[in-house]
């Protein structure tokens, strides 16, 4: 493994310091933790929004700290949920007295650690609500899985909840709009290559030159199906078709889309995918209200992408289009 890394054991710690050094006016690190909060947290009179999870998904999570999005973000080890005690500090630091919404990506590890933390801070009198994002349509939600994963749609949950909180809404209202995004968003991803975790130092899974993985998550886990390599257009078809089938939208529905890079895929390719995605949506009678293309939620250096579609109404358009100012996302 050749990486811009010193010691794998220090990589998360050093990354967090490097983030603070990049955005000293926007974020700060809680001493002796892997928790970053926006510089002015807790923001008086505002519901706090926190998120977190394993590292390796940058700019998720700390990249979205700031006005109109998150108040705090906890970083676990690479691909490992943060520990409950760090999450406790996270929630505490985001609470101005108006309560805190925890945005959790569905996975037992995250859910169990967040819930443990939530119970602990509630005992100390903080109002806590949670939403669990499960936008990954690749995984069937059945008795035989731990439920659908939370992936790139989470960014839109952060955005809408953050905007609602910035308006001064109360915890219930903020939780409602977060859940509304969750109810209207679907994502599916694919990998051309495996990622390399600092811990393992080699590919998590072997993917021959002529095969790809469909339905991957964001943790370098193998996907739901392995198929022969396909063209960009075919891959876009496959992902979009699955997402649209899941969402089952009416003709003329407005949507917002994300073509998300997995970290190792150049933007050139993401734009090639976006071109086809927009054609397909047009063919389905859907109207794109906004289209994002870039690296929003990654898997280290994995090559591949995910496609997210979110049905939007007037309320969601207002929230998703509202101003945000964070290191990784600025909406004017």
């Amino acid at each position: 493994m050749k990486k811009l890394i010193n010691d794998p054991d220090d990589v998360v710690d050093e990354m967090l310091d490097g983030m603070v050094a990049a955005y000293p006016d926007q974020v700060r690190r809680l001493p002796d933790t892997k928790v970053l909060v926006r510089d002015d947290a807790p923001v008086d009179g505002k519901v706090g929004i926190v998120s977190g999870g394993g590292s390796g998904h940058e700019p998720t999570h700390a990249g979205y700290l700031g006005e109109g999005m998150l108040d705090g973000a906890a970083a676990g080890e690479v691909f490992t949920s943060p520990t409950a005690d760090e999450l406790e500090e996270l929630v505490g630091a985001a609470d101005s007295g108006e309560g805190v919404l925890m945005v959790i990506k569905n996975y037992e590890g995250d859910v169990m650690n967040f819930e443990t933390a939530g119970e602990m801070v509630e005992m100390e009198g903080t109002d806590v609500a949670q939403v669990v994002v499960d936008d990954d349509v690749a995984v069937e939600d059945s008795l035989y899985t731990s439920g659908r994963r939370g992936v790139c749609g989470t960014i839109l949950v952060h955005k809408a909840a953050g905007a609602k909180a910035a308006e001064g809404a109360d915890l219930d209202e903020v939780q409602r709009v977060a859940q509304k995004v969750i109810d209207n968003v679907g994502t599916m991803g694919m990998a051309l290559t495996s990622c390399i975790t600092p811990e393992k130092g080699e590919a998590t899974f072997d993917l021959p030159e002529d095969e790809i993985e469909l339905g991957i998550g964001i943790h370098g886990e193998p996907g739901v199906e392995r198929t022969d390599v396909m063209s960009a257009d075919e891959i876009t078809e496959e992902l979009t078709q699955n997402v649209l089938e899941d969402l089952d939208l009416d003709d003329g529905q407005e949507v917002m889309t994300i073509v998300n890079g997995m970290g190792g895929t150049p933007q050139m390719e993401l734009f090639v995918v976006n071109r086809k995605l927009q054609q397909i949506l047009g063919d389905h009678g859907l109207e794109t209200w906004d289209a994002w293309v870039g690296d929003y939620m990654t898997s280290l250096d994995m090559e591949g992408c995910s496609i997210t579609v979110c049905a939007v109404d007037e309320e969601l358009k207002e929230l998703l289009g509202a101003p945000a100012e964070t290191p990784a996302l600025t909406v004017k």
Partner: protein, 209 residues
């Protein structure tokens, strides 16, 4: 330091050593059907636990187990952090009066119960529960029905856990990251069941020493 407490501290240290040795093997297992971090999670967590318990002033069994659990809770994260760590913390009161055949069985049962409370997995979901259930059942039966000595019972329990680990291979996962793979999870050994077995082997090793 009580003899018993000393033994538990030694056991935690032995587990830490063993999991460091098995680090890359566990990560390889987790690569195949998970996210390639179980070895790191376990090695990091138990090393910290061994340090923490070594510093206890009065290392009675309950305090040692509780400290180890708390350390895992704050060092590991992931799915295995709350499962291993939380269950140790909550089960530790069963050892309040020391290590007896009876208290060991109670501890084992509570530990299993807490794992299942938190993780909601049943036997056959291809998780650590598949190693734990046969181990705890065998342990309890050996002690309570067959009147075996705890160490002999533990030896039986370890063999049972091994069966459980082997059993995870041919089945489809319904919990944890491996469940996302659906049928593709079949044919792979569960990392958490494997680390559970290793931990039990070390307990046995220290107990027989």
């Amino acid at each position: 330091m009580s003899d018993e407490g000393e033994a538990v501290v030694a056991a935690v240290a032995a587990v830490a050593d063993r999991l460091e040795t098995e680090r890359s093997h566990l990560t390889d297992l987790d690569s195949a059907i998970g996210d390639a971090d179980h070895g790191g999670n376990m090695a990091r967590g138990w090393a910290a636990a061994a340090e923490a318990v070594a510093e206890l002033d009065d290392p009675e069994p309950m305090a040692v187990v509780k400290t180890a659990g708390k350390t895992l809770l704050s060092e590991v994260g992931g799915a295995s952090g709350p499962l291993y760590g939380g269950s140790l913390v909550f089960a530790s009161p069963e050892l309040e009066d020391g290590l007896t055949a009876e208290s060991s069985v109670a501890f084992a049962e509570t530990y299993l119960e807490k794992v299942q409370d938190r993780g909601d997995a049943r036997v056959g979901d291809k998780t650590m529960v598949d190693a734990l259930v046969p181990a705890v059942h065998t342990f309890k039966k050996s002690v309570e029905v067959d009147d075996m000595e705890p160490v002999a019972a533990l030896s039986k329990a370890v063999a049972a856990a091994q069966r459980g680990v082997d059993f995870t291979v041919p089945i489809r996962a319904s919990k944890g990251r491996a469940s996302y793979l659906g049928w593709r999870s079949v044919g792979h050994q569960d990392p958490g069941a494997t680390s559970t077995l290793y931990i039990m082997e070390e307990l046995l090793d220290v107990a027989t020493a």
